[in-house]
């Protein structure tokens, strides 16, 4: 119990059920190195649902739409809780938007978006398993092909 107290946050966001191996990718996406309040990151925790999982608690931060969308791509099974006054006031499953603009790189080296300054755009062809299709070159990418910009 004591340990929980340490990592409890008054206000902020808890991201749970992150597949363990992408926990630090989420840290990177959210640029947590520049957050001044309490952050706790745990990985390799046992989870009945997904085997090994990660949890990230971030004090004083609520996520913007683009941040949520990015996390949904790398950890579609994660849950997102909003904490106010030490209580969970909202708990959401992540959903992947129908189109993803600007933050994913096309994995096709011959795609025009990798040669000119063009905002990338992908259409979600399938939610589970995740498959997104480049608006420009029409190539389909699975989650392990996804590289964020």
């Amino acid at each position: 119990m004591k340990q929980l107290k340490v990592s409890a946050i008054r206000e902020g966001t808890v991201i749970d059920h992150i597949p363990s191996d992408v926990t630090f990718k989420v840290v990177e996406i959210l640029k947590l190195n520049s957050v001044k309040e309490i952050i706790s990151v745990a990985a390799n925790l046992d989870s009945k649902k997904i085997g090994k999982k990660g949890i990230i608690k971030i004090g004083g931060k609520f996520l913007g739409e683009e941040e949520v969308n990015k996390i949904a791509l790398v950890a579609p099974a994660a849950t997102l809780s909003i904490i106010k006054d030490f209580k969970v006031v909202e708990k959401n499953k992540l959903t992947i938007p129908k189109t993803i603009e600007g933050f994913v790189k096309c994995f096709n080296p011959n795609c025009i978006t990798n040669h000119e300054e063009i905002k990338t755009k992908f259409h979600v062809a399938n939610q589970k398993p995740l498959k997104i299709r480049c608006h420009y070159c029409e190539r389909a990418m699975a989650s392990n092909d996804i590289v964020l910009k």
Partner: protein, 305 residues
């Protein structure tokens, strides 16, 4: 169904009804030419990568309908300066022309052009991605020689991994209940994303390594080039290069309606002794590009419905 102002970027965006309509318009233009239909209209042919055959076919189609062609055949001698974005080029060119036909080495370039252009854009090939007018002319050819497209046995042979034409043709044929046969070396098989799409659409197909396993059943044998540069190991190339040559001997017990197609140019995939047989149809196939391109130009310019 209105084509006026429509971009023709990807075969996957055309419905079955739209494909059939384009083929019908092509047929009517071929049997009743309309030499003044596109009088006063200007086509900009932007070939960022040389493709003489495709460019001449579009130019011929436009000229036969009374329109004019401007543009360039080779970007190195054009005014497209290094560093100028494609979007900027298109925004300028659309002020000179009523329709843009574009060939570009990068995949997705045609979509970029269509997103910024107010005049219709026709994709004449964007890298390994799409070449919808080639697929439409292939379908037009199949319909012309077999009388219909539905329920045919269609075999594709050669480099099915990198061959853009076979990918698009397979996708387009998924509308027509054809039985598909894919013949290729192990390392050049039809990509799984195409097979998945065919599965989704309940298309019946099978994969083979020998032409002989399939040729007796085929109504159409669509041959494509195996490119040497696709092989990391030249010895591997040497092994397969001669396995896929269609010779006159192989045609002894084929169906009498069999026709052999090839997007051309060929290297040695079809032996020249096949040319004089009734099964050879690749040169006529190339000529069918003209009515198809005439149809598309007339439709997107709103001169035909």
């Amino acid at each position: 169904m209105s084509f006026k102002g429509k971009d023709i970027i990807s075969i996957n965006e055309l419905s079955k009804a739209e494909i059939i309509h384009i083929l019908e318009v092509a047929k009517s233009l071929e049997s009743r030419p309309k030499p003044n239909l596109l009088n006063g209209k200007v086509l900009a042919a932007l070939f960022f990568e040389p493709s003489t055959r495709t460019r001449l076919s579009f130019e011929s189609a436009m000229s036969k309908l009374g329109g004019k062609v401007v543009g360039f055949a080779d970007p190195s001698v054009s005014s497209v300066k290094k560093g100028e974005t494609l979007s900027d080029t298109i925004k300028i060119v659309e002020r000179y022309a009523d329709v843009i036909v574009m060939r570009h080495p990068l995949e997705g370039s045609a979509r970029v052009a269509s997103d910024v252009s107010d005049v219709p854009v026709i994709n004449a090939g964007d890298g390994a991605n799409q070449h919808p007018t080639q697929t439409l002319l292939d379908l037009y050819t199949i319909k012309k020689i077999q009388g219909h497209i539905s329920n045919l046995n269609i075999a594709m042979v050669g480099d099915l991994k990198y061959g853009r034409t076979t990918h698009s043709l397979a996708m387009a044929l998924s509308h027509f209940n054809c039985r598909l046969f894919f013949i290729s070396p192990e390392q050049l098989r039809m990509p799984s994303y195409i097979l998945e799409e065919l599965d989704k659409k309940n298309v019946e197909y099978s994969e083979h390594t020998q032409i002989e396993e399939v040729i007796k059943n085929a109504d159409i044998l669509y041959s494509t080039r195996i490119q040497k540069e696709r092989f990391p190991d030249l010895a591997e190339y040497e092994k397969v290069r001669n396995v896929y040559i269609i010779t006159k001997d192989m045609l002894k017990s084929v169906k009498s309606n069999l026709k052999i197609l090839h997007p051309l140019p060929r290297v040695n995939e079809i032996s020249t002794d096949v040319d004089s047989t009734k099964y050879a149809y690749y040169f006529e196939q190339a000529a069918n590009g003209i009515p198809i391109r005439q149809a598309l130009l007339s439709l997107v310019l709103g001169k035909l419905k």
